[in-house]
């Protein structure tokens, strides 16, 4: 599904990703952990195509295609979804409207007919119910005046409607209450399947109790310094990142 080789990226003169390699196969769920500022969001955004970051080396292949060559909307239409760590507010544009435009752009590309208003509405209602999202929220302007938790839930709701092939969730669990956390986790687990893949960026092991990952990676200063199974998350929770730091220093 996704193959990243020695990926490097910078902002201005500052190199943030310093050679990242990561392979995510269909059907898998990967977790990326790592201290603040280690480059997790940068990696997610580079994969989504944000041009603030300049890719200076390496490659990324998505479904056999050169991901880095594709425009952000192109990536999205081909099934790559990113849930933002800090979802932006868009006054005047309802989530419904945004989603419909996005969904239809993807369908058009795939040679499918655009969904009419009625079909779209029933799809959206069904998904809203699944992620227990209040319908009034999706008729409001995108994220405008939403609480922190509502914004995160709105990301999961959009993911549920768009049914991506590869979902990258950037700290979607941060700032959620216990119920919301369960809802988000259920949303992810529902998406899980043999022809999809999911990358979750998180600081907390508790999310991984709900979403059990196939692999866990530790990102540290722009590099993946350790990978392992789900037990790695527990180990990190237990020992903190200093444990990794020490090991790196000794090496």
């Amino acid at each position: 599904m996704l193959e990243i080789k020695n990926l490097r990226a910078k902002v201005g003169d500052r190199e943030i990703l310093k050679g990242i390699s990561l392979t995510v196969k269909t059907g898998e769920v990967h977790a990326i952990m790592g201290p603040n500022g280690s480059g997790k969001s940068t990696l997610a955004q580079v994969l989504a195509g944000r041009d603030t970051y300049e890719v200076t080396g390496g490659e990324a292949t998505y479904q056999g295609k050169d991901l880095l060559e594709m425009a952000p909307e192109e990536r999205a239409r081909q099934g790559l979804f990113m849930a933002f760590q800090y979802p932006v507010e868009i006054p005047g544009v309802s989530t419904m409207y945004l989603l419909r435009a996005g969904l239809n752009a993807a369908r058009k590309q795939q040679g499918l007919e655009e969904l009419d208003a009625m079909d779209f509405l029933s799809l959206v209602k069904e998904q809203a119910k699944l992620v227990e999202m209040d319908e009034s929220l999706m008729n409001r302007s995108v994220n405008e005046g939403f609480s922190g938790g509502e914004k995160k839930r709105n990301e999961i709701f959009q993911m549920a409607v768009l049914q991506p092939k590869l979902a990258i969730l950037d700290e979607t669990d941060s700032g959620l209450d216990i119920d919301a956390l369960r809802i988000v986790a259920n949303g992810v687990n529902r998406l899980r399947g043999p022809d999809r893949a999911i990358i979750v960026v998180t600081h907390y092991q508790r999310l991984l109790n709900y979403i059990v990952p196939d692999r866990v990676h530790v990102l540290y200063e722009g590099r993946i310094v350790k990978s392992g199974g789900k037990e790695l998350a527990l180990e990190l929770e237990d020992k903190g990142y200093s444990w990794i730091e020490e090991k790196l220093a000794r090496a």
Partner: protein
């Protein structure tokens, strides 16, 4: 970066779609302005004496006036002697019916998406088409006449309904009103006239389509709409001009009169040629539009979508004279590249319980400069007057500007005024968010801009709203890099 920059380049290079020139033989009079020219215009139109006198009075007054400079628009001095004040497509005689209209002209309107052949017209819209200085065709005239509605060119109204013209011409915008309106009063050549008799609700939208074709010609049209007691009408105005690298002057006047319980809704989608990307060429649009709510419970509502012109200078206003009368102004003004707009409204509250609403949306992109200028004036007798104003600006990029000048004068303490204003910017993060959901940059800008303008578009008649949305998309193409 590379992909988005490329699409943007493709888009900005797309030309103004209405920029073609119609090759038609025109009858013009000599360049420049003097009393002789005014005599000549009046003569060409076989006007009665009172019209000529009115024009001359205006001209003599104009000579004493100075071009205004208080506005926030900048342009090189206009040489008023270099302009042709009259140009008309040559016709052997005035067309009596559409069959007699020059096919070249019909083709022009067809190309502009305004079919004049009645069978092709969208049911429910009667059109008056003004080409350069004269009206070339008015559709559905007979059908409207059955209801006593008069809808014709201004010239015809002068000849066939002089008593109405005499009574109302200048009653809202006097010949001495302002530099551009006074110039218009002296030289106006044509325009539309509508009269809705007592108690009649006009069953279709009335529409005028203005087209400037000839080079170095000014267009000075004049529109007069009268809604008698209990009458109501919805009127639409559209306009385009060819691409020319010199600036052309357009100085129009619109007067609306609403009597007791009458309602007039006036909608404009202004798409005059805006000039090229470097700011060369384009129409100078200096327009005076004003409505008088003369009767009790009358209502005048202006809705405008201003996307074209190099310079837009207009303040559609309401004089709320009758008790309980209502004035509304809904506006979207877009400035891209080097366009400048100084636009807004005046709400003059005279009668008791008069209410006004102002909702404006200014969008600036490129090097565009967008100014809102508004006046809410509550006179002594206007007990319990209410005004609500909301002025929002949206910036795209960092070379453009938005300016707001709301003036308020209150002479009655029982009045209540509310004013809200905001300025926002389309952020790179908003665009990226949309793109991450599969939406292209252009569509994302459109989405955000349309969301921004929603409250105004809602006021437009359905088909016009769709047109306005598309137009907005075109005028903002390439505005995000």
């Amino acid at each position: 970066m590379s992909t988005s920059t490329k699409t943007i380049q493709d888009l900005t290079e797309q030309e103004y779609k209405y920029g073609f020139v119609t090759d038609i033989e025109a009858e013009t009079i000599p360049r420049g302005l003097n009393e002789e020219i005014i005599h000549l215009i009046s003569e060409k139109k076989h006007e009665p004496e009172f019209m000529l006198e009115w024009r001359l009075k205006a001209y003599r007054h104009w000579l004493t006036m100075k071009e205004p400079t208080w506005h926030n628009v900048h342009y090189p001095p206009i040489d008023y002697q270099a302009i042709f004040y009259y140009s008309a497509p040559k016709m052997k005689k005035a067309p009596k019916s559409l069959e007699e209209v020059d096919p070249e002209l019909l083709k022009t309107y067809e190309k502009l998406g305004i079919p004049l052949a009645e069978q092709k017209l969208l049911a429910g819209v009667a059109v008056d088409a003004v080409f350069d200085s004269v009206s070339v065709a008015t559709t559905f005239k007979e059908k409207l006449a059955e209801l006593g509605i008069i809808f014709c060119s201004f010239s015809e109204a002068v000849l066939n309904h002089p008593e109405l013209v005499r009574k109302y011409l200048g009653s809202v915008v006097p010949y001495s009103d302002n530099f551009f309106a006074t110039l218009n009063s002296a030289v106006f050549s044509d325009g539309s006239f509508a009269y809705i008799p007592k108690g009649v609700r006009c069953p279709m939208e009335l529409s005028t389509y203005f087209r400037i074709n000839a080079a170095e010609t000014g267009q000075f049209e004049r529109t007069l709409i009268i809604a008698e007691e209990g009458a109501s009408v919805s009127y639409l105005e559209g306009c385009t001009a060819p691409i020319r690298d010199t600036n052309q002057l357009h100085a129009a006047v619109v007067e609306l009169v609403a009597l007791n319980n009458a309602t007039i809704k006036y909608s404009t989608v202004q798409n005059w040629y805006p000039g090229d990307r470097e700011g060369k060429g384009g129409i100078y649009n200096f327009v005076t539009k004003r409505g008088r709510c003369l009767g009790v419970n009358s209502k005048i509502s202006w809705t405008q979508v201003e996307t074209g012109s190099a310079i837009t200078w207009k303040y559609p206003s309401c004089i709320l004279q009758g008790d309980n009368s209502v004035g509304e102004f809904y506006s979207v003004a877009v400035t891209n590249n080097y366009q400048q707009a100084d636009t807004g409204t005046k709400m003059i509250h005279i009668g008791k319980n008069t209410r006004s609403t102002i909702v404006t949306k200014g969008i600036s992109a490129g090097h565009g400069q967008n100014t809102y200028r508004g006046l809410v004036k509550i006179l002594k007798g206007a007990a319990n007057a209410r005004n609500y104003s909301q002025c929002d600006s949206l910036l795209i990029g960092d070379k453009c500007g938005a300016h707001t000048f709301p003036y308020i004068e209150v002479k009655n303490s029982t009045s209540r005024l509310e004013h809200e204003a905001s300025t926002s910017k389309i952020g790179e993060d908003q665009i990226f968010y949309c793109r991450q959901r599969g939406i292209s940059t252009e569509d994302a800008v459109n989405l955000i801009v349309n969301g921004f303008c929603k409250e105004v578009f809602r006021e437009l008649p359905m088909e016009f709203a769709v047109e306005a949305q598309k137009l907005l998309g075109v005028s903002l193409e390439g505005s995000v890099g």
